[in-house]
């Protein structure tokens, strides 16, 4: 396969994930990533910076495909019990803690904009709160609680009082 962009990695990852699932082997991220990397640069090591970035994006695509497989895995391999959700919680919480960190970047920048737009102690408190969340929260349940507080506007309302 030529190229090696995100789509290539994701597509190849999905194919590998499908084969893995059919065989009921459930390979780890490393296998899919390795497969995606092999597909992106012909199996050789990346040479220049540009190729390196392409292989990185291919890796992310492969890893996302692995996520899709892992979420679907439990629901379709016959182990699902009545009332059980088709989700592998261990892997989902692992991904949630990292995904929460990615979204934390957005929250921190948005809080910084709010502070610049309306400089106040509440704005400063919001930036510190978001930065602390970005740095420290890795527990998915705590992260879920923070997302709830942010989405419902409780945090904005609280900080607007200062």
């Amino acid at each position: 396969m030529q190229g090696g962009n995100f789509y290539d990695g994701f597509r190849q990852g999905i194919i590998v994930a499908a084969f893995n699932h059919l065989q009921h082997e459930g390979n780890g991220t490393e296998d899919v990533v390795a497969e995606a990397e092999a597909s992106s640069d012909g199996g050789g090591d990346p040479k220049g910076p540009k190729q390196k970035v392409l292989s990185e994006t291919a890796k992310v695509g492969g890893a996302l495909a692995d996520v899709v497989e892992n979420v679907a895995e439990k629901g379709t391999d016959g182990t699902l019990k009545a009332g059980e959700l088709p989700v592998n919680w261990g892997k989902v919480s692992k991904i949630a803690s990292k995904g929460g960190n990615l979204l934390g970047v957005v929250s921190v920048v948005d809080a910084a904009f709010d502070l610049y737009d309306k400089p106040s102690w509440g704005g400063l408190g919001k930036v510190i709160y978001e930065t602390a969340g970005f740095i420290a929260i890795k527990n998915p349940y705590v992260l879920g609680a923070k997302v709830f507080v942010d989405i419902t506007g409780i945090s904005d309302w609280t900080f607007s009082k200062f």
Binding site: E56, A63, L102, V106, V109, A112, Y116, P119, I135
Partner: protein, 130 residues
């Protein structure tokens, strides 16, 4: 400087790495780079405010969700740039013990909060309180 940044990346990545994972996994290294990206953002924004520019010009007058969408897209564009500056193979070449990793994680927090405070001070001085 680059080695110092790589150690900061590893320190931050280590905090989000579970016991059954490798610190050098793709997602862990992406998370590790986030701290550097946020530090760079605060540094850049503070300098722009000091120079009299409005660093958030492109976010003015937008709704919260629109703003977050724009910020996320800019983040997705920025991430590959930091992957070029701090490539995975160079990060993987650095090995640190647990104690060192924890030290660099704390250093991440100290630097980031210092930059936040400097940014807030500059904003308050330039724009005043509302």
């Amino acid at each position: 400087m680059k080695q110092f940044c790589i150690k900061l990346i590893l320190g931050f990545a280590n905090y989000f790495t579970r016991k059954d994972e490798s610190i050098y996994d793709t997602f862990n290294l992406i998370v590790g780079r986030n701290a550097i990206i946020v530090m760079f953002f605060f540094l850049l924004v503070t300098i722009l405010i000091l120079l009299g520019f409005n660093p958030f010009y492109f976010l003015e007058g937008k709704e919260k969700l629109e703003r977050m969408g724009i910020i996320f897209v800019v983040y997705l564009i920025t991430l590959p740039i930091f992957m070029i500056i701090f490539p995975s193979n160079e990060i993987m070449a650095v090995e640190m013990v647990e104690k060192e990793l924890k030290y660099y994680y704390i250093l991440n927090a100290i630097i980031l909060f210092s930059l936040v405070i400097i940014f807030a001070l500059v904003t308050f001085i330039k724009k005043g309180f509302l």
